[in-house]
C-alpha cells in the first residue's frame, strides 16, 4: 500500500471516528434532546421515574385598607390562606424505547398528582392530570419528529425540567406572561378582593376554569441538535400546537407556532446539570378566543349573548445560561404582545377587554448560583421584573428579588429555602391605577421551604 493511500485511509478513519464521536455526543446536552430523545442502544423499555415536591410557604403581605386580599397576597393554587404546606408537585411517569433494539422511536409519559395549577382550577380539582404523553421518531437525520403532549420549545424557565429548577416560584415574567391562563369559554366577571371571612367561607379568587398551560401544548415538533465542532452544539425546534396547554380541544380552530434555536459551548458533564455556555432565542405566535363583553343582564345571559373574539397572542425571548461549577448565571428577556393576563391586582379572571387582550408587556431576570466547593450547599440569588400593560393607562411593574440556599442531600434529594422581596405597583398616574394600588398596597415578602426528591 502506497504512503499516499495509507494516509488517505488514515484520514478517512480519522474523519469517520470524529463523525462517529460527534453523532454520539449530540444526544443529551439540552432540554430539547433530554426530554425528547433517549440514548440510542442504551434506553430501557420503560424507565419509571418521577419526583415529589413538598413545600411550606408563608406570605407576609398585609390586607388592603378594607381588610381584603388579592392573589399576590395568598398562596396558590388555593388562594385562600397566607401560609401552609402543599404537595406542589407529585409526578410519576415512564420513558424509554418500547422496542429496545430499535433506537429510532421513543416515548415520554408523565402525570401530575400534586396540588397546583394543572390539577386545581376554578371549576374542578382533579386527582391527576396528564402532563406529558409524546412519541419521538428519530428516523430522519437532522429532523427528529416529536408528537403528542409535551413542553413546547420556549423560555428557559418553562422548558427546563422543573425538578431541577433552582427556586421555588417562577419569576414574575414567567408566571404572568408565559404560564398561560386560558380565557373561560363564556364571559366571566371579575371578582372583587376578598376579606378573610369570605375566603374562609368559600370565596374563590381563581376564576379560570381550565388548568394552567404548564408550558405545554399538544402538537408536533421537528427538532434536532448538531455538534458543530470545538465542543459547540447547535439546536433548533419548530412546533405547531393547538395552543390550549394540557387540554386537548382546539375550539378556536387555530394553531400556535413555536420556534426555538440555541447554540451551546459544552463544558462537560451530561444530563440536566450539564455544564455549558448556552445562547438561546425563541418565539410563539397564536390566537385565543376571548369573550370580554358581558351581556346586559348578567344573571340572564344565554348562549346567544356570547361574543367571542379572536385575539393574537405572541411571545418571544432570548437569553443566555452559563453553567460551570461552582458558578451558574442565567439571564433572559421576555416580550409579550396580546392576551396579557391582568389578574393579580384585579383579583380573578380578566384580560380586560381591549386592555389586557391587546396589551404589551415585557420582563427580564438575572439569576446566579454558587455551589460552595467541597460542601453540599448552594447559594442562589435572582432579580426579576415585569412591566405589564406597557404604555397603557394602568401599566404595572412587578419587581422581585429572591435569595436562596439549597442543601443537596444527594444528587436527587435537596431542600430549597427562598426568601422573596416583592414590590408590586401600578406605575401610571391615571385613575385606573388608584384602585389597583389600593389592592396591591401591602404586598410583602414571601418565605418558602421546599423539599425535592427525585426517583
Amino acid at each position: 500500500m502506497g504512503e499516499k493511500k495509507l494516509f488517505k485511509h488514515a484520514l478517512i478513519s480519522a474523519v469517520c471516528t470524529l463523525a462517529f464521536a460527534a453523532a454520539g455526543s449530540a444526544n443529551a446536552a439540552n432540554w430539547l434532546m433530554l426530554q425528547g430523545t433517549e440514548d440510542p442502544g442504551a434506553s430501557p423499555r420503560a424507565n419509571v421515574w418521577g419526583f415529589v415536591q413538598v413545600d411550606y410557604q408563608r406570605d407576609y403581605s398585609k390586607a388592603n385598607a378594607t381588610g381584603q386580599y388579592v392573589p399576590p397576597k395568598l398562596r396558590g393554587p388555593d388562594l385562600d390562606s397566607q401560609s401552609g404546606f402543599n404537595i406542589s408537585r407529585a409526578r410519576i411517569g415512564a420513558r424509554g424505547t418500547g422496542f429496545p433494539i430499535d433506537s429510532n422511536i421513543n416515548y415520554f409519559l408523565l402525570a401530575e398528582f400534586g396540588n397546583n395549577g394543572t390539577t386545581h382550577s376554578a371549576s374542578e380539582y382533579t386527582f391527576a392530570k396528564l402532563t406529558d404523553a409524546s412519541i419521538t421518531i428519530n428516523d430522519i437525520p437532522g429532523a427528529r419528529i416529536r408528537t403528542g403532549l409535551f413542553k413546547y420549545p420556549g423560555a428557559e424557565e418553562g422548558l427546563q425540567a422543573i425538578h431541577v429548577f433552582d427556586y421555588i416560584n417562577f419569576t414574575e415574567a414567567t408566571n404572568g406572561l408565559l404560564l398561560e391562563r386560558f380565557p373561560n369559554h363564556a364571559y366571566t366577571a371579575n371578582l372583587p378582593a376578598q376579606n378573610q371571612t369570605q375566603l374562609q367561607t368559600g370565596g374563590a379568587l381563581n376564576g379560570f376554569n381550565a388548568p394552567v398551560g404548564a408550558f405545554r401544548d399538544v402538537g408536533i415538533q421537528v427538532f434536532d441538535a448538531f455538534d458543530v465542532g470545538n465542543d459547540w452544539e447547535a439546536s433548533y425546534a419548530v412546533m405547531i400546537g393547538q395552543g390550549n396547554g394540557i387540554e386537548f380541544d382546539n375550539v378556536d380552530g387555530k394553531y400556535d407556532t413555536y420556534l426555538y434555536a440555541s447554540a451551546e459551548k459544552k463544558l462537560g458533564g451530561k444530563g440536566p446539570k450539564a455544564e455549558g455556555f448556552k445562547f438561546f432565542a425563541w418565539s410563539q405566535k397564536g390566537q385565543r378566543l376571548l369573550d370580554s363583553t358581558p351581556c346586559a343582564v348578567p344573571a340572564t345571559c344565554v348562549a346567544a349573548d356570547a361574543n367571542p373574539v379572536l385575539y393574537k397572542r405572541e411571545r418571544a425571548g432570548l437569553g443566555v445560561k452559563y453553567m460551570d461549577k461552582p458558578f451558574r448565571v442565567t439571564a433572559e428577556y421576555i416580550k409579550a404582545n396580546g392576551m396579557i393576563w391582568v389578574g393579580p391586582d384585579k383579583p380573578t379572571f380578566t384580560f380586560a377587554g381591549s386592555n389586557g387582550a391587546e396589551a404589551d408587556a415585557n420582563g427580564w431576570y438575572v439569576e446566579g448560583g454558587w455551589y460552595i466547593p467541597n460542601t453540599k450547599w448552594e447559594l442562589d440569588a435572582r432579580l426579576d421584573t415585569m412591566t405589564r400593560l406597557k404604555g397603557a393607562i394602568d401599566e404595572h411593574r412587578f419587581n422581585k428579588r429572591t435569595v436562596g440556599v439549597q442543601y443537596h442531600f444527594n444528587p436527587k434529594s435537596r431542600v430549597t429555602i427562598n426568601y422573596e422581596m416583592r414590590d408590586f405597583s401600578c406605575t401610571a398616574s391615571s385613575t385606573p391605577c388608584t384602585n389597583a394600588n389600593k389592592n396591591l398596597d401591602g404586598v410583602g415578602n414571601k418565605l418558602g421551604v421546599q423539599m425535592t426528591a427525585i426517583y
Binding site: 453523532a23 455526543s25 442504551a42 433494539i101 433506537s103
Partner: protein, 147 residues
C-alpha cells in the same frame, strides 16, 4: 540504498511509536489474569457497569498482566451498537486492548425483527454465538464475571 535505509528508520520509528500506544493488555496466552465479562441485560446501567469493570481491571494489574474480553448477547448486544452513547469509551478500551465480542445469533435475530441489520461498533468482533464464546474463554482459563 538510502531509500532502504530511510524505510528501515521509518519502520523502526513507527514500531516504537506504536509500541508506546499499544494496548496495555497482554496477549491472552501470556496474561497472568484473564477475565471474560458477560452482558446480556437490557438495563442501561449495566452497560456502564461492565465498562467500569473493564477499566478497573486495566488499572488493577501491571501492563501486560491482564486480558479482558466483553461478550454481549441478547438485549446486552445493544452495548455494541454503533450509536450507543458509550461508543467512545468502547473505542478507548479497545485501544487499550479490551476485546469486544458480539453474538452472531443475536445479530441475526435482531436483523429479522428490525428488517435490517443493526450497525455495530467497529471495535466489536462478531462471533458465531456469545454463549459459545464464553464457554471457549472459560475453557482457556478466563475468569467468568457477569456484573
Amino acid at each position: 540504498m538510502l531509500n532502504h535505509f530511510r524505510s528501515l528508520i521509518f519502520i523502526v520509528t513507527s514500531f516504537f511509536i506504536m509500541s508506546a500506544a499499544m494496548p496495555v493488555l497482554a496477549d491472552d496466552d501470556f496474561a497472568d489474569y484473564k477475565y471474560v465479562l458477560h452482558i446480556s441485560d437490557m438495563d442501561p446501567s449495566k452497560q456502564e457497569l461492565i465498562l467500569n469493570n473493564a477499566s478497573n481491571l486495566l488499572e488493577a494489574y501491571p501492563p501486560g498482566a491482564v486480558a479482558v474480553e466483553i461478550v454481549a448477547y441478547g438485549p446486552g448486544l445493544r452495548l455494541m451498537f454503533a450509536d450507543n452513547p458509550n461508543a467512545q469509551r468502547i473505542d478507548s478500551l479497545s485501544q487499550s486492548g479490551v476485546k469486544f465480542a458480539a453474538c452472531g445469533n443475536t445479530l441475526k435475530a435482531m436483523t429479522k425483527q428490525l428488517g435490517y441489520e443493526p450497525q455495530l461498533n467497529p471495535d466489536a468482533k462478531v462471533v458465531p454465538g456469545g454463549i459459545v464464546r464464553i464457554g471457549e474463554l472459560v475453557k482457556k482459563g478466563y475468569i467468568y464475571v457477569k456484573p
